[in-house]
Protein backbone atom coordinates (compact mmCIF):
# COMPACT_ATOMS: atom_id res chain seq x y z
CA UNK A 1 0.00 0.00 0.00
CA UNK A 2 1.33 3.39 -0.91
CA UNK A 3 2.64 5.80 1.65
CA UNK A 4 1.32 9.32 1.81
CA UNK A 5 3.05 12.61 2.33
CA UNK A 6 1.50 13.99 5.46
CA UNK A 7 1.83 17.73 5.93
CA UNK A 8 0.88 19.26 9.25
CA UNK A 9 1.72 22.24 11.40
CA UNK A 10 2.91 20.86 14.73
CA UNK A 11 3.61 23.30 17.55
CA UNK A 12 3.85 26.12 15.03
CA UNK A 13 6.28 24.36 12.69
CA UNK A 14 5.43 22.93 9.28
CA UNK A 15 6.36 19.26 9.10
CA UNK A 16 6.21 16.61 6.41
CA UNK A 17 6.15 12.91 7.20
CA UNK A 18 6.07 9.95 4.84
CA UNK A 19 3.66 7.48 6.41
CA UNK A 20 0.85 5.01 5.78
CA UNK A 21 -2.70 6.35 5.89
CA UNK A 22 -3.57 3.83 8.63
CA UNK A 23 -0.85 5.04 10.96
CA UNK A 24 -2.29 6.59 14.11
CA UNK A 25 -1.58 10.24 14.78
CA UNK A 26 -0.19 9.35 18.24
CA UNK A 27 2.47 7.14 16.61
CA UNK A 28 3.34 9.75 13.99
CA UNK A 29 3.91 12.31 16.74
CA UNK A 30 5.92 10.00 18.98
CA UNK A 31 7.87 7.92 16.51
CA UNK A 32 8.28 10.09 13.43
CA UNK A 33 8.47 13.50 15.09
CA UNK A 34 10.00 12.36 18.38
CA UNK A 35 7.37 14.23 20.37
CA UNK A 36 7.09 11.63 23.10
CA UNK A 37 5.26 13.92 25.50
CA UNK A 38 2.03 12.62 24.00
CA UNK A 39 1.42 9.37 25.91
CA UNK A 40 -0.43 6.25 24.88
CA UNK A 41 -2.40 4.67 27.70
CA UNK A 42 -5.22 2.49 26.43
CA UNK A 43 -4.93 2.99 22.67
CA UNK A 44 -8.69 2.41 22.54
CA UNK A 45 -10.01 5.97 22.87
CA UNK A 46 -10.93 5.69 26.54
CA UNK A 47 -8.18 7.18 28.73
CA UNK A 48 -7.32 10.51 27.08
CA UNK A 49 -3.56 10.23 27.77
CA UNK A 50 -2.95 10.77 24.05
CA UNK A 51 -5.01 13.98 23.87
CA UNK A 52 -3.60 16.69 21.61
CA UNK A 53 -5.09 19.90 20.26
CA UNK A 54 -6.02 19.53 16.60
CA UNK A 55 -7.65 22.41 14.69
CA UNK A 56 -8.85 23.92 17.98
CA UNK A 57 -10.36 20.68 19.24
CA UNK A 58 -9.13 18.24 21.85
CA UNK A 59 -8.75 14.87 20.13
CA UNK A 60 -7.50 11.48 21.22
CA UNK A 61 -4.57 11.02 18.87
CA UNK A 62 -4.75 7.22 19.20
CA UNK A 63 -8.06 7.41 17.37
CA UNK A 64 -7.17 9.62 14.43
CA UNK A 65 -5.59 8.17 11.29
CA UNK A 66 -2.58 9.96 9.92
CA UNK A 67 -4.49 10.55 6.70
CA UNK A 68 -7.22 12.42 8.60
CA UNK A 69 -4.62 14.82 10.00
CA UNK A 70 -3.59 16.08 6.56
CA UNK A 71 -3.20 19.86 6.77
CA UNK A 72 -4.03 19.92 10.47
CA UNK A 73 -2.76 22.42 13.00
CA UNK A 74 -1.61 20.45 16.03
CA UNK A 75 -0.41 21.46 19.47
CA UNK A 76 1.14 18.86 21.77
CA UNK A 77 2.37 19.29 25.32
CA UNK A 78 5.78 20.25 23.88
CA UNK A 79 4.11 23.21 22.21
CA UNK A 80 2.55 24.57 25.37
CA UNK A 81 5.58 25.04 27.60
CA UNK A 82 9.27 24.23 27.96
CA UNK A 83 11.20 23.07 31.03
CA UNK A 84 12.45 26.65 31.50
CA UNK A 85 9.26 28.38 30.53
CA UNK A 86 6.36 26.40 31.93
CA UNK A 87 2.85 27.12 30.73
CA UNK A 88 0.62 28.53 33.45
CA UNK A 89 -1.27 25.22 33.54
CA UNK A 90 2.00 23.37 34.12
CA UNK A 91 2.91 25.81 36.92
CA UNK A 92 -0.46 25.25 38.56
CA UNK A 93 -0.32 21.45 38.20
CA UNK A 94 3.06 21.66 39.93
CA UNK A 95 1.87 23.99 42.66
CA UNK A 96 -1.34 22.08 43.40
CA UNK A 97 0.13 18.58 43.08
CA UNK A 98 -2.02 17.88 40.04
CA UNK A 99 0.14 14.88 39.20
CA UNK A 100 1.78 11.89 40.80
CA UNK A 101 3.23 9.45 38.25
CA UNK A 102 2.62 12.00 35.50
CA UNK A 103 1.47 9.54 32.88
CA UNK A 104 -1.91 11.21 32.32
CA UNK A 105 -0.53 14.74 32.67
CA UNK A 106 0.26 15.71 29.04
CA UNK A 107 -3.26 14.67 28.08
CA UNK A 108 -4.75 16.46 31.09
CA UNK A 109 -2.92 19.67 30.31
CA UNK A 110 -3.58 19.75 26.56
CA UNK A 111 -7.25 19.06 27.27
CA UNK A 112 -7.41 21.67 30.05
CA UNK A 113 -5.80 24.16 27.65
CA UNK A 114 -8.63 23.84 25.13
CA UNK A 115 -11.28 23.64 27.87
CA UNK A 116 -10.14 26.98 29.31
CA UNK A 117 -10.12 28.55 25.84
CA UNK A 118 -13.82 27.71 25.63
CA UNK A 119 -14.75 28.46 29.22
CA UNK A 120 -12.50 31.00 30.94
CA UNK A 121 -14.44 31.13 34.21
CA UNK A 122 -15.50 27.56 34.94
CA UNK A 123 -17.13 26.17 38.07
CA UNK A 124 -15.75 23.04 39.66
CA UNK A 125 -18.55 21.07 38.02
CA UNK A 126 -17.69 22.56 34.61
CA UNK A 127 -14.09 21.44 35.08
CA UNK A 128 -15.05 17.91 36.07
CA UNK A 129 -17.44 17.62 33.10
CA UNK A 130 -14.99 19.21 30.65
CA UNK A 131 -12.20 16.90 31.78
CA UNK A 132 -14.31 13.74 31.76
CA UNK A 133 -12.48 12.28 28.77
CA UNK A 134 -9.23 12.03 30.73
CA UNK A 135 -8.53 9.30 33.26
CA UNK A 136 -6.01 9.49 36.09
CA UNK A 137 -5.13 6.42 38.15
CA UNK A 138 -3.17 8.29 40.82
CA UNK A 139 -4.47 11.62 42.01
CA UNK A 140 -8.15 11.03 42.59
CA UNK A 141 -8.67 14.11 40.39
CA UNK A 142 -9.12 16.54 43.28
CA UNK A 143 -5.80 18.31 42.72
CA UNK A 144 -6.15 18.27 38.95
CA UNK A 145 -9.45 20.12 39.32
CA UNK A 146 -7.84 22.55 41.77
CA UNK A 147 -4.95 23.21 39.39
CA UNK A 148 -7.29 23.98 36.50
CA UNK A 149 -9.50 26.26 38.60
CA UNK A 150 -6.37 28.06 39.85
CA UNK A 151 -5.19 28.51 36.26
CA UNK A 152 -8.52 30.06 35.29
CA UNK A 153 -8.35 32.40 38.25
CA UNK A 154 -4.79 33.47 37.44
CA UNK A 155 -5.65 33.96 33.76
CA UNK A 156 -8.52 36.23 34.75
CA UNK A 157 -6.35 38.19 37.20
CA UNK A 158 -3.76 38.72 34.48
CA UNK A 159 -6.47 39.89 32.07
CA UNK A 160 -7.81 42.36 34.63
CA UNK A 161 -4.44 43.87 35.43
CA UNK A 162 -3.54 44.13 31.74
Amino acid sequence: MEKIRLNMTVNGKDVEVLTEPRQLLAHVLREELNLTGTHIGCETSHCGACTVDMNDMSVKSCSVFAAQAQGANITTIEGLGTPDGLHLLQEMFKEHHGLQCGYCTPGMITRAYRFLQENGSPTEEDVRFGMSGNLCRCTGYQNIVKAILATAEKMNEMKESA
Binding site: P21, G48, T51, M57, V59, A67, Q68, R111, G133
Partner: protein, 284 residues
Protein backbone atom coordinates in the same frame (compact mmCIF):
# COMPACT_ATOMS: atom_id res chain seq x y z
CA UNK B 1 -3.38 -1.75 17.44
CA UNK B 2 -3.13 -0.59 13.88
CA UNK B 3 -5.65 -1.78 11.30
CA UNK B 4 -4.75 -3.48 8.06
CA UNK B 5 -3.85 -1.04 5.34
CA UNK B 6 -6.28 0.80 3.15
CA UNK B 7 -6.33 3.37 0.44
CA UNK B 8 -7.62 6.72 1.68
CA UNK B 9 -9.95 8.93 -0.35
CA UNK B 10 -11.21 12.38 0.56
CA UNK B 11 -13.75 13.52 -2.02
CA UNK B 12 -15.14 17.07 -1.85
CA UNK B 13 -18.67 16.29 -3.03
CA UNK B 14 -21.42 13.74 -2.40
CA UNK B 15 -21.23 12.66 -6.05
CA UNK B 16 -17.50 12.12 -5.70
CA UNK B 17 -18.01 9.96 -2.62
CA UNK B 18 -20.76 7.96 -4.32
CA UNK B 19 -18.64 7.19 -7.35
CA UNK B 20 -15.81 5.80 -5.19
CA UNK B 21 -18.34 3.85 -3.14
CA UNK B 22 -19.89 2.36 -6.29
CA UNK B 23 -16.49 1.60 -7.83
CA UNK B 24 -15.17 -0.37 -4.84
CA UNK B 25 -18.44 -1.87 -3.55
CA UNK B 26 -17.99 -4.06 -0.48
CA UNK B 27 -14.32 -3.14 -0.12
CA UNK B 28 -15.13 0.51 0.54
CA UNK B 29 -16.53 2.24 3.64
CA UNK B 30 -17.22 5.83 4.48
CA UNK B 31 -15.68 7.33 7.59
CA UNK B 32 -17.16 10.31 9.45
CA UNK B 33 -15.70 11.05 12.91
CA UNK B 34 -14.27 7.54 13.04
CA UNK B 35 -15.01 7.09 16.72
CA UNK B 36 -17.10 3.98 16.18
CA UNK B 37 -15.33 2.79 13.03
CA UNK B 38 -11.65 3.20 13.97
CA UNK B 39 -11.97 1.03 17.12
CA UNK B 40 -13.43 -1.87 15.10
CA UNK B 41 -10.85 -1.39 12.34
CA UNK B 42 -8.09 -1.52 14.96
CA UNK B 43 -9.44 -4.81 16.24
CA UNK B 44 -9.45 -5.98 12.61
CA UNK B 45 -13.10 -6.95 12.97
CA UNK B 46 -13.81 -5.48 9.59
CA UNK B 47 -11.97 -5.59 6.31
CA UNK B 48 -11.86 -2.29 4.48
CA UNK B 49 -9.47 -1.58 1.63
CA UNK B 50 -10.88 1.80 0.59
CA UNK B 51 -11.74 4.36 3.21
CA UNK B 52 -13.77 7.34 2.04
CA UNK B 53 -13.50 10.32 4.37
CA UNK B 54 -16.66 12.45 4.30
CA UNK B 55 -14.88 15.25 6.15
CA UNK B 56 -14.16 17.28 3.00
CA UNK B 57 -17.77 17.53 1.82
CA UNK B 58 -19.18 20.88 2.90
CA UNK B 59 -22.71 19.97 1.67
CA UNK B 60 -22.91 17.52 4.57
CA UNK B 61 -22.33 20.16 7.25
CA UNK B 62 -24.62 22.52 9.05
CA UNK B 63 -27.85 23.02 10.95
CA UNK B 64 -30.83 24.92 9.58
CA UNK B 65 -34.10 25.78 11.29
CA UNK B 66 -36.79 27.23 9.05
CA UNK B 67 -40.60 27.21 9.19
CA UNK B 68 -40.59 24.90 12.19
CA UNK B 69 -38.44 22.37 10.32
CA UNK B 70 -34.97 21.37 11.47
CA UNK B 71 -32.44 19.95 9.06
CA UNK B 72 -29.03 18.72 10.18
CA UNK B 73 -26.23 17.69 7.84
CA UNK B 74 -24.81 14.22 8.51
CA UNK B 75 -21.29 15.52 9.22
CA UNK B 76 -22.43 17.88 11.97
CA UNK B 77 -20.53 16.93 15.11
CA UNK B 78 -21.99 16.29 18.53
CA UNK B 79 -19.98 19.28 19.77
CA UNK B 80 -21.69 21.48 17.17
CA UNK B 81 -25.11 20.13 18.21
CA UNK B 82 -24.32 21.18 21.79
CA UNK B 83 -22.95 24.63 21.01
CA UNK B 84 -25.50 25.70 18.36
CA UNK B 85 -27.60 28.29 20.19
CA UNK B 86 -30.56 28.16 17.78
CA UNK B 87 -30.84 24.41 18.14
CA UNK B 88 -30.54 24.67 21.93
CA UNK B 89 -33.38 27.19 21.89
CA UNK B 90 -35.76 25.36 19.56
CA UNK B 91 -34.91 21.72 20.32
CA UNK B 92 -33.25 21.60 23.76
CA UNK B 93 -33.81 17.83 23.77
CA UNK B 94 -30.89 17.41 21.33
CA UNK B 95 -28.50 19.29 23.55
CA UNK B 96 -29.65 17.43 26.64
CA UNK B 97 -29.03 14.07 24.95
CA UNK B 98 -25.77 15.05 23.21
CA UNK B 99 -24.23 16.13 26.50
CA UNK B 100 -24.77 12.59 27.75
CA UNK B 101 -22.88 11.01 24.85
CA UNK B 102 -19.29 9.90 25.38
CA UNK B 103 -16.83 12.60 26.51
CA UNK B 104 -15.67 15.99 25.17
CA UNK B 105 -12.89 14.58 22.96
CA UNK B 106 -15.26 12.12 21.29
CA UNK B 107 -17.97 14.76 20.85
CA UNK B 108 -15.64 17.12 18.96
CA UNK B 109 -15.32 14.58 16.14
CA UNK B 110 -18.25 12.16 16.44
CA UNK B 111 -21.02 13.08 14.01
CA UNK B 112 -24.79 12.77 14.09
CA UNK B 113 -24.69 10.92 10.73
CA UNK B 114 -22.17 8.38 11.96
CA UNK B 115 -24.07 7.90 15.18
CA UNK B 116 -27.40 7.16 13.48
CA UNK B 117 -25.98 5.22 10.49
CA UNK B 118 -23.75 2.98 12.62
CA UNK B 119 -26.66 0.74 13.70
CA UNK B 120 -25.15 0.05 17.12
CA UNK B 121 -28.04 -0.35 19.59
CA UNK B 122 -25.87 1.38 22.20
CA UNK B 123 -25.75 4.65 20.24
CA UNK B 124 -27.98 7.34 21.74
CA UNK B 125 -28.96 9.29 18.62
CA UNK B 126 -31.10 6.57 16.97
CA UNK B 127 -33.51 6.44 19.93
CA UNK B 128 -33.43 10.21 20.11
CA UNK B 129 -34.32 10.47 16.42
CA UNK B 130 -37.20 8.01 16.88
CA UNK B 131 -38.46 10.20 19.72
CA UNK B 132 -38.37 13.20 17.38
CA UNK B 133 -39.92 11.13 14.54
CA UNK B 134 -37.02 12.24 12.34
CA UNK B 135 -36.51 11.34 8.68
CA UNK B 136 -33.16 10.30 7.23
CA UNK B 137 -32.18 11.39 3.75
CA UNK B 138 -30.23 8.67 1.96
CA UNK B 139 -28.40 9.54 -1.24
CA UNK B 140 -27.28 6.79 -3.59
CA UNK B 141 -26.33 6.31 -7.22
CA UNK B 142 -30.06 6.24 -8.10
CA UNK B 143 -30.92 9.43 -6.28
CA UNK B 144 -32.38 10.43 -2.95
CA UNK B 145 -34.87 8.63 -0.75
CA UNK B 146 -36.25 9.33 2.68
CA UNK B 147 -36.58 6.72 5.43
CA UNK B 148 -38.17 7.36 8.82
CA UNK B 149 -35.92 6.79 11.83
CA UNK B 150 -38.69 4.57 13.16
CA UNK B 151 -38.38 2.31 10.08
CA UNK B 152 -34.59 2.45 9.66
CA UNK B 153 -33.27 -0.07 12.20
CA UNK B 154 -33.61 -3.77 11.39
CA UNK B 155 -31.21 -5.48 13.82
CA UNK B 156 -27.87 -4.65 15.45
CA UNK B 157 -25.72 -3.12 12.70
CA UNK B 158 -28.39 -3.83 10.06
CA UNK B 159 -30.28 -0.82 8.75
CA UNK B 160 -32.40 0.14 5.75
CA UNK B 161 -29.38 1.90 4.22
CA UNK B 162 -28.01 0.17 1.11
CA UNK B 163 -24.22 -0.29 0.93
CA UNK B 164 -23.81 2.27 -1.82
CA UNK B 165 -25.93 4.91 -0.09
CA UNK B 166 -24.73 7.76 2.09
CA UNK B 167 -26.88 9.18 4.86
CA UNK B 168 -26.78 12.83 3.90
CA UNK B 169 -29.09 14.65 6.31
CA UNK B 170 -31.64 14.33 9.07
CA UNK B 171 -34.80 16.37 9.45
CA UNK B 172 -37.70 16.70 11.86
CA UNK B 173 -40.27 19.24 13.04
CA UNK B 174 -39.61 21.50 16.02
CA UNK B 175 -41.44 19.69 18.85
CA UNK B 176 -42.70 22.65 20.96
CA UNK B 177 -43.52 20.57 24.03
CA UNK B 178 -42.07 19.04 27.19
CA UNK B 179 -38.95 16.95 26.63
CA UNK B 180 -36.39 14.80 28.42
CA UNK B 181 -33.54 12.44 27.64
CA UNK B 182 -32.63 10.30 30.63
CA UNK B 183 -29.69 7.95 30.58
CA UNK B 184 -28.33 5.55 33.18
CA UNK B 185 -24.66 4.69 32.66
CA UNK B 186 -21.93 3.06 34.74
CA UNK B 187 -19.65 6.07 34.45
CA UNK B 188 -19.44 9.29 32.51
CA UNK B 189 -18.50 8.52 28.91
CA UNK B 190 -20.13 5.10 28.96
CA UNK B 191 -22.85 3.82 26.68
CA UNK B 192 -26.29 3.49 28.26
CA UNK B 193 -27.34 0.71 30.57
CA UNK B 194 -30.74 2.11 29.67
CA UNK B 195 -31.84 5.42 28.20
CA UNK B 196 -35.10 6.99 27.10
CA UNK B 197 -36.17 10.01 25.09
CA UNK B 198 -39.57 11.50 25.83
CA UNK B 199 -41.69 14.28 24.31
CA UNK B 200 -45.01 15.18 25.89
CA UNK B 201 -47.61 17.88 25.48
CA UNK B 202 -50.51 18.53 27.81
CA UNK B 203 -53.92 20.11 27.50
CA UNK B 204 -54.60 20.94 31.15
CA UNK B 205 -54.12 17.55 32.78
CA UNK B 206 -54.79 15.55 29.63
CA UNK B 207 -51.95 14.34 27.44
CA UNK B 208 -52.39 15.71 23.93
CA UNK B 209 -49.19 14.36 22.40
CA UNK B 210 -46.48 11.92 23.39
CA UNK B 211 -43.47 10.15 21.95
CA UNK B 212 -41.17 7.73 23.76
CA UNK B 213 -38.19 5.73 22.49
CA UNK B 214 -35.60 3.61 24.28
CA UNK B 215 -31.83 3.21 23.78
CA UNK B 216 -29.77 0.04 24.33
CA UNK B 217 -32.71 -1.98 25.56
CA UNK B 218 -33.02 -4.19 22.47
CA UNK B 219 -31.00 -4.90 19.33
CA UNK B 220 -32.53 -1.75 17.80
CA UNK B 221 -33.94 1.40 19.36
CA UNK B 222 -37.48 0.83 20.57
CA UNK B 223 -40.31 3.22 19.75
CA UNK B 224 -42.92 2.59 22.46
CA UNK B 225 -46.16 2.75 20.52
CA UNK B 226 -48.34 1.05 23.14
CA UNK B 227 -47.15 3.37 25.87
CA UNK B 228 -47.81 6.39 23.64
CA UNK B 229 -51.31 5.17 22.71
CA UNK B 230 -52.05 4.69 26.37
CA UNK B 231 -51.04 8.21 27.26
CA UNK B 232 -52.50 10.35 24.49
CA UNK B 233 -56.03 11.52 25.24
CA UNK B 234 -55.81 10.34 28.85
CA UNK B 235 -55.72 12.24 32.08
CA UNK B 236 -52.13 12.00 33.27
CA UNK B 237 -51.85 11.02 36.91
CA UNK B 238 -49.41 8.72 38.69
CA UNK B 239 -51.43 5.71 37.63
CA UNK B 240 -51.30 6.63 33.94
CA UNK B 241 -47.55 7.19 34.18
CA UNK B 242 -47.11 3.82 35.87
CA UNK B 243 -49.03 2.18 33.07
CA UNK B 244 -46.96 3.90 30.39
CA UNK B 245 -43.76 2.83 32.14
CA UNK B 246 -45.07 -0.73 32.23
CA UNK B 247 -45.71 -0.71 28.46
CA UNK B 248 -42.22 0.65 27.79
CA UNK B 249 -40.55 -2.02 29.89
CA UNK B 250 -42.71 -4.64 28.14
CA UNK B 251 -41.51 -3.34 24.77
CA UNK B 252 -37.85 -3.59 25.78
CA UNK B 253 -35.86 -6.73 25.09
CA UNK B 254 -32.38 -6.29 26.58
CA UNK B 255 -29.67 -8.94 26.69
CA UNK B 256 -27.40 -9.71 29.63
CA UNK B 257 -23.88 -8.28 29.28
CA UNK B 258 -21.24 -6.45 31.31
CA UNK B 259 -23.85 -3.81 32.14
CA UNK B 260 -25.96 -6.35 33.97
CA UNK B 261 -28.51 -9.15 33.71
CA UNK B 262 -31.84 -8.76 31.92
CA UNK B 263 -33.85 -8.25 35.14
CA UNK B 264 -31.57 -5.41 36.21
CA UNK B 265 -31.75 -3.68 32.84
CA UNK B 266 -35.54 -3.86 32.83
CA UNK B 267 -35.60 -2.50 36.35
CA UNK B 268 -33.34 0.41 35.34
CA UNK B 269 -35.44 0.94 32.21
CA UNK B 270 -38.53 1.40 34.38
CA UNK B 271 -36.80 3.99 36.54
CA UNK B 272 -35.35 6.08 33.72
CA UNK B 273 -38.57 6.02 31.67
CA UNK B 274 -40.54 7.22 34.69
CA UNK B 275 -37.99 9.97 35.36
CA UNK B 276 -38.04 11.02 31.70
CA UNK B 277 -41.83 11.18 31.56
CA UNK B 278 -42.03 13.18 34.79
CA UNK B 279 -39.30 15.59 33.68
CA UNK B 280 -40.94 16.07 30.30
CA UNK B 281 -44.32 16.83 31.89
CA UNK B 282 -42.68 19.34 34.25
CA UNK B 283 -41.23 21.15 31.24
CA UNK B 284 -44.48 21.47 29.21
Amino acid sequence: MIPSNFEYHKPDSIDGALSILTEWGDDARVIAGGHSLIPVMKQRLTDISHLIDLGGISELKGISIENNKVSIGAMTTQHELITNTQLAKFVPLIREASLQIADPQVRYVGTIGGNVANGDPANDMPGLMQTLDASYELTGPNGVRIVKARDFYEAAYFTAREDEEILTSISFSVPNCGYAYEKQKRKIGDYATAAAGVLINMDNDTCSFASIALTNLSDTPVYCEEAVNNLVGKKVDSNAIKKAVHYCVEASDPVADTRGPVEFKKYVAGIIVQKAIENAIARV
